[in-house]
């Protein structure tokens, strides 16, 4: 074996410092953000929102192991989230029973580590259900996942002793041994639990992408036929990835179980499966951090935006469509583009370009939001009128339509011009 090969090997794989910058630093930053948040003294709402985000981050990342990495579009990922969660809730019940009863294994099991149970539950479910579903990729896989999700969630309402019917199964997290001095009672203590597991989840999923199996899952996504001719069974690759994705979904389920102390069969259904799909996609499935962004944004919209507008689902739909149409890289893709532009040869020009584009978009948004809000208020028919910033915008007011039309026309004009400029530059 020659020196050349050894030398080139070193030059090929990124250097130690590069590795550090590209891999370790983002993780450290992530950990630091998680650790620093409580310093700002979040409110209860903020905490519960953050906790929900943590759960969804892990859930969305686990989903992206399938969609983004392995190219498997699933409509039933919530099944594994839910089954993992149920496993954790039942374990929570066992801990409670054991600590009031005669002890045993569960009496010594800290609630803090319930996500392990969730992981095991999700992975087990993945192993059982994945066996038939992973035989095929593509649309058949998607359809099977849809069918399985419907079946399992229907079963969820049938087997009351396991799933608790419509009411679900509740538990109490303040039992069993405490870990790290956290009683897990108050929500700010739960935050630490969530932060810890969010980090573990993200780290674990990241580590997975670096393993031979993780790499081969990408290879199988791109070209299953070729994967077979380099010694890999694509079905087995998919199946193993599926189990891991199920496991991490279950981990998120376990986090959720501790956070909410309740699990309902609804958690297994199509709706959350669809939501996690939206999260991953809006965030950007081709980017590792994409689903994190998506989870944060959608959790926020889901919980907070409904306070501001009845039409929040309409906005969600619009946002999603806009992303699908114009930014298939998702939020991460947009940020990535901005970042590259800033580091490109002409940051000033890119900045100017964005400023123009953003102005155009904002103008169009003003018009759209006015139109929607005006319509919503009007159609509710209680004589309500949209009144932003002290303006009075009834459906038959001249001002209203001016606020709708003028920015729209201006926005379209600006965007068109911006796009033309861009072409001219190329």
């Amino acid at each position: 074996m020659s020196n050349i090969a050894t030398d080139t090997m070193i030059s090929l794989s990124p250097s130690g410092s590069q590795k550090f910058m590209q891999r370790t630093v983002p993780l450290i930053i992530f950990a630091v953000i998680l650790a620093v948040i409580p310093v700002f003294g979040p409110s209860r709402t903020m905490y519960s929102l953050l906790n929900a985000m943590g759960v969804n981050i892990v859930f969305a990342m686990s989903y992206n192991m399938l969609l983004g990495r392995a190219g498997l579009l699933s409509f039933g990922h919530a099944v594994y989230f839910g089954l993992g969660g149920y496993a954790a809730v039942h374990a929570m019940g066992a801990i409670e029973a054991a600590s009031y009863g005669d002890g045993g294994f569960w009496a010594g099991y800290p609630v803090f580590f319930l996500p392990f149970i969730g992981f095991a539950g999700g992975a087990l479910a993945g192993a059982v259900i994945g066996w038939p579903s992973c035989r095929r990729a593509g649309t058949p896989f998607a359809m099977i996942s849809l069918g399985v999700a419907e079946l399992i969630s229907a079963a969820g309402f049938m087997f009351g002793s396991i799933f608790g019917g419509e009411e679900g199964i509740s538990g109490d997290r303040m039992n069993g041994p405490e870990m790290f001095g956290l009683s897990l009672g108050p929500i700010n203590e739960v935050y630490w639990f969530i932060a810890f597991w969010t980090f573990i989840g993200v780290l674990g999923i990241y580590a997975f992408t670096r393993t031979p199996l993780g790499k081969m899952s990408e290879a199988t996504r791109d070209n299953p036929e070729r994967a077979e001719f380099v010694g890999y069974d694509p079905q087995k690759v998919r199946y193993l990835v599926f189990i891991f994705a199920g496991g991490f979904a279950g981990l998120a389920g376990g986090m959720s179980a501790v956070n909410y102390e309740i699990f309902t069969p609804e958690a297994l259904s199509l709706a959350p499966s669809g939501m996690v799909l939206l999260m991953a996609y809006i965030g950007g499935i081709r980017y590792f951090a994409g689903p994190i962004l998506g989870a944060i944004l959608l959790t926020y919209m889901q919980s907070m935006m409904s306070d501001y507008s009845e039409a929040w689902l309409l906005y969600l739909g619009l946002l999603f469509i806009v992303i699908v149409m114009f930014a298939p890289g998702g939020l991460a893709g947009i940020f990535g583009g901005l970042f590259r532009g800033l580091r490109g040869d002409n940051p000033a020009a890119s900045l100017r370009q964005w400023a123009v584009q953003i102005t155009g978009i904002v103008l169009m948004m003003i018009s759209l939001v006015t139109l929607i809000e005006m319509s919503v208020n009007w159609s509710n028919n209680y004589g309500e009128v949209f009144e932003p910033f002290g303006m009075h915008l009834p459906h038959d007011g001249v001002l209203t339509w001016a606020v709708i039309f003028i920015p729209f026309v201006a926005g379209v004009g600006i965007l068109r011009k911006a796009l033309k400029n861009k072409e001219g530059q190329a």
């Binding site: 209860r44 419509e166 679900g168 909410y260 309902t264 306070d307 209680y382």
Partner: protein, 389 residues
């Protein structure tokens, strides 16, 4: 000061309309009481929190409400959500002494909330499903021509509770009646009830009893009428929004609903003004939840009695309180926090002073259809544990 009530119910999605109606009435009730000086001198503020009928989301909204300084939670759509909220509130109150929260349940009627799972922090202003079934079967008792009854409901705790109560009550009150069917169908999944209805028709039933709500109720009744079912249809929620439109002329005299109020009852001037005011303000919705008005008044009385708006004091004051409401005397039982109020077997009619859904149809109840509050009392298994004062 203000007394803040968080209304946690669906405000968007498929159940949005139902929740919105509830919120409207809570807000209207607050407005009316504020006009009279509020509760014990405090203005009442009702804020809607959208839970999308999801127990988990309800808990997030609960945290939000707590942040905003809310100490009173109102909820009704779905016993499953109520169950989650009861649990969460109990834990919260245990974990955060001094910040207790009270749960005003205006529609979630799972009997267990005032029985095995009864709880000091929970007060129910609606009759529970057992009480409603007592009322329905009492009415059936008097109907000699009903010989065969078919029970159909949604497959979940509430539907099961309804079915069990119906079976039990009927065998007690009318042993001669044959229960020709007792069926649970999946919740919110059936698109065409015709097969079910034909089963009911072929069973020869003279009456059908159902606790269905939402689309399940509307579709069921519509299918029954289209297929020419001519027996009585005895419902819990026939009076809710949108049903009248779907039922139409054919359902007149045939569909009945057990309610605590309908707008064609004899009303005092003050009460009529209250109802008129509501319907004028919210032209798209109808006055439906008398119990919200009741709850608001009872809350006010309790606060005044305790001379405090602290939930713990108010809760103790609410126990055993009586209130002279528009339909009669109401009592909040101290033993299980269940209200007792007069109930009415209302009948769907086309000859009404006030229609619903902006149509010509509405609900009526004559004197014979009135059930006195005391008669709705049921046994309770509740063993209430109370905090120390």
């Amino acid at each position: 000061d203000t007394l803040k009530i968080a209304f946690i119910d669906p405000l968007s999605g498929p159940f949005g309309p139902t929740g919105q109606d509830g919120l409207n009435e809570w807000e209207y009730a607050a407005e009316q009481i504020n006009a009279k000086g509020g509760i014990n001198g405090n203005q009442v503020e009702v804020t809607g929190y959208d839970n999308k009928v999801n127990p988990k989301e309800s808990l997030v909204q609960l945290q939000k409400a707590l942040d905003n300084g809310v100490r009173y939670i109102a909820q009704g759509n779905g016993s499953s959500v109520a169950s989650a909220l009861i649990d969460a509130i109990t834990k919260h109150n245990k974990r955060n002494p001094g910040e207790e929260v009270l749960f005003l349940n205006y529609a979630a009627v799972d009997p267990s909330f005032t029985n095995d799972r009864c709880n000091f922090w929970h007060f129910r202003f609606d009759a529970d499903s057992d009480m409603k079934m007592e009322a329905i079967t009492d009415w059936v008792k008097g109907q000699e021509d009903i010989k065969k009854v078919y029970i159909i409901g949604q497959d979940y705790s509430f539907g099961k509770a309804v079915a069990a109560a119906a079976e039990k009550n009927l065998t007690e009150k009318r042993p001669d009646i044959e229960i020709v069917g007792n069926e649970l169908h999946p919740l919110g999944k059936v698109k065409d009830f015709t097969p079910y209805v034909q089963k009911i028709i072929s069973s020869g039933a003279d009456a059908m009893i159902t606790g269905n709500w939402g689309a399940d109720m509307v579709l069921l009744i519509k299918a029954a009428i289209d297929s020419g079912f001519d027996g009585k249809i005895l419902t819990y929620y026939g009076g809710s929004r949108g049903a009248a439109t779907a039922m139409g002329q054919a359902a007149v005299g045939q569909v009945m609903a057990i309610v605590e109020h309908n707008t064609n009852l004899e009303m005092s001037d003050a009460h009529a003004a209250y109802v008129d005011g509501y319907e004028a303000k919210y032209s798209e919705s109808n006055y439906y939840y008398q119990r919200i008005d009741n709850a608001m008044h009872m809350l006010a009385m309790a606060a005044e009695k305790a001379d405090s708006i602290d939930p713990v004091d108010v809760a103790f004051a609410l126990e055993g309180m009586t209130y002279e409401g528009p339909t009669g005397t109401l009592t909040m039982r101290a033993d299980n926090h269940q209200v007792l109020q007069p109930m009415f077997m209302s009948t769907f009619s086309d000859n009404v002073a006030r229609g619903v859904d902006n149509g010509p149809f509405g609900w009526v109840a004559d004197d014979a259809a009135r059930i006195e509050a005391e008669d709705t009392r049921t046994e309770t298994t509740c063993q209430m544990t109370r905090p120390s004062k």
